[in-house]
Symmetry: C2
Subunit: 331 residues, 2 copies
């Protein structure tokens, strides 16, 4: 940077001003500096700025598992925004609970401008407290518990599950099974509540054997299906807490020779890529994941700039029911 300053005939501080879009730099000097910088291929060092200044140009994305369509979307969306504002993304993995050591490690060593949390760690109190203590602006995507000092972006999981269940009911189904999601994810309980409430609202009893555990994985969907289809009084419809599990259920049903949706309707959640790939394509709840991630990013960046106001009321996005071919009217 000193080279740029010298060749442009200004002080380093002025060069710094240009690269930080600060006021009080005359147009001509600015132009000259930019010219020289381009010639020398100069870029301020991320490490040095992070050390010297108050901004680090680094945002953290803390995830539990970096795989899956959902996280891919979040990642893509956030990476997009990072590029737009010229900062960099550091991805860290925190397996549920107990990774407190790593958490402190990361938080103490890296200066983040902001941190974005995805489920389920966005509801891990240990993580939240550590983040709060460190003072890093934090955003939580699809969080459950409230933390009104942090940006929160969600959809109304309860309502979505409620509506999907109602849709199933409107198609004539009464024996509707539900496959829960990973209990560590806050959305799992909301979705289950939505299902139960809808059933009750329509005077349908929720039989406990009709509500089975799941972990959001394809395999767990298969396992749930095995259990459900072994029942004496089989369900005519299954509402799975996500599309991966719904796909597992679909596969098992077909292996057993059941026609979907004729003999078994299946609904999923998320509108994953695979929802439209399996056949029949899955009826599901579409949540605007990318939009949510972008919002989380933008809001947390605003917090960082001090605009604490509107930023801290949860941003609730709208979902939509996507009716495809895996659900049919009960004959």
């Amino acid at each position: 940077m000193s080279d740029v300053a010298r060749l442009a005939g200004v002080s380093m501080k002025t060069v710094s001003r240009v690269f930080n879009n600060e006021k009080y730099v005359s147009e001509d000097k600015k132009k000259k500096i930019l010219e020289v910088a381009a010639e020398l291929n100069f870029r301020p060092s991320l490490q040095a700025r992070g050390l010297a200044g108050s901004k680090s140009y680094i945002v953290g994305l803390f995830v539990d598992d970096p795989s899956g369509d959902y996280i891919s979307k979040v990642l893509r969306s956030i990476l997009n925004r990072c590029e737009a504002i010229g900062c960099h993304l550091v991805v860290e993995v925190f397996k549920e609970q107990g990774d407190e050591a790593k958490l402190r490690q990361v938080l103490n060593s890296i200066k983040f401008d902001a941190v974005i949390l995805s489920a389920p760690i966005c509801d891990d109190m240990v993580v939240l407290n550590a983040l709060r203590a460190s003072g890093v602006p934090t955003a939580r995507i699809a969080a459950g518990v409230t933390a009104d000092d942090m940006v929160k972006v969600t959809i109304d999981e309860f309502q979505a599950a409620f509506e999907m269940t109602e849709y199933l009911i409107s198609m004539g189904h009464e024996k509707i099974a539900f496959v829960k999601g990973d209990p560590n994810h806050a959305c799992s309980v909301d979705r289950e509540r939505g299902y139960i409430r809808a059933m009750q609202t329509h005077g349908l009893r929720v039989k406990h054997e009709m509500v089975v555990a799941g972990m959001f994985s394809y395999a767990s969907g298969r396992a749930a299906a095995e259990a459900l289809l072994a029942l004496e009084d089989k369900p005519t419809a299954v509402f799975a807490s996500n599309d991966e599990m719904a796909s597992g259920i679909l596969a098992v049903a077909r292996e057993r020779g059941m026609k979907v949706p004729e003999e078994l309707s299946i609904a999923g959640f998320d509108d994953d890529a695979i929802a439209s790939i399996v056949s029949p394509a899955l009826t599901t709840v579409k949540q605007p994941v990318e939009e949510m991630a972008r919002t989380a990013f933008d809001l947390v960046m605003k917090t960082e700039e001090g605009e604490e106001d509107a930023v801290l009321t949860p941003s609730v996005h709208s979902f939509s029911l996507v009716k495809r071919d895996s659900v049919a009217k009960l004959a």
Copy 2:
């Protein structure tokens, strides 16, 4: 850090030594320092170390598109290794070609310990040259072009495609179509060559209308299928360059009322998650993506430590044919 030094009664340099596993620190002082550090919850600052030292504890992963099962696996694997050796991952997106400005920007501002390139940018000469110029140890996963100063990790794409094609032939197929991958990916041409060679080896003519373009996406698979199935002389088997496209083909075939694999055999490549989710499950080529990513990481870290020897000969991993249900003997 100065606090730790003071409380432990040593110099900062000694504390630094402990945190960098350098020699020449007595056991008792080391213990004392670790104790004090734990108490104060001290961790060396990433930014400061990066500025002051020669290591940055940051590795970069440059991708073209952060979505998809393939990249997820790479990401997961690399994140694993990062955690193991205590460094951090910065993900950067480079859309094919032309992003030279961003490239220089990133390379000039961030000091990386190593950079890992995935397809297709691992074959982008502009990127390679910039990386070379910057002197950052680089690893390329699934690269095509040679760059013998960089770590390279692959499978024998040609051979894999060759064997899959042979397998199809061994099942009695002669009218075997091929759906190409994104031409920007080096593996696409290798796979196509493998297919062609196998056909020729077995005295089968490669009809040009039987080789159609694709972009590795589900949609492009569908498009390819439309073209292929509209042919007067339809193929009895289709070999797609990846599983996503194969799934698209499968979907179209079924929509047209064709039985898979009875009337049309379909083979994919990669052994993506979706390969075992669609039904029938796809016969495909499994490449050990995670192992490859890990190897790339470990090798490039060794380069970084100066062991240039064996590290620079390409690491060729073994693939395997996974025979599932989407391919059947020609009736």
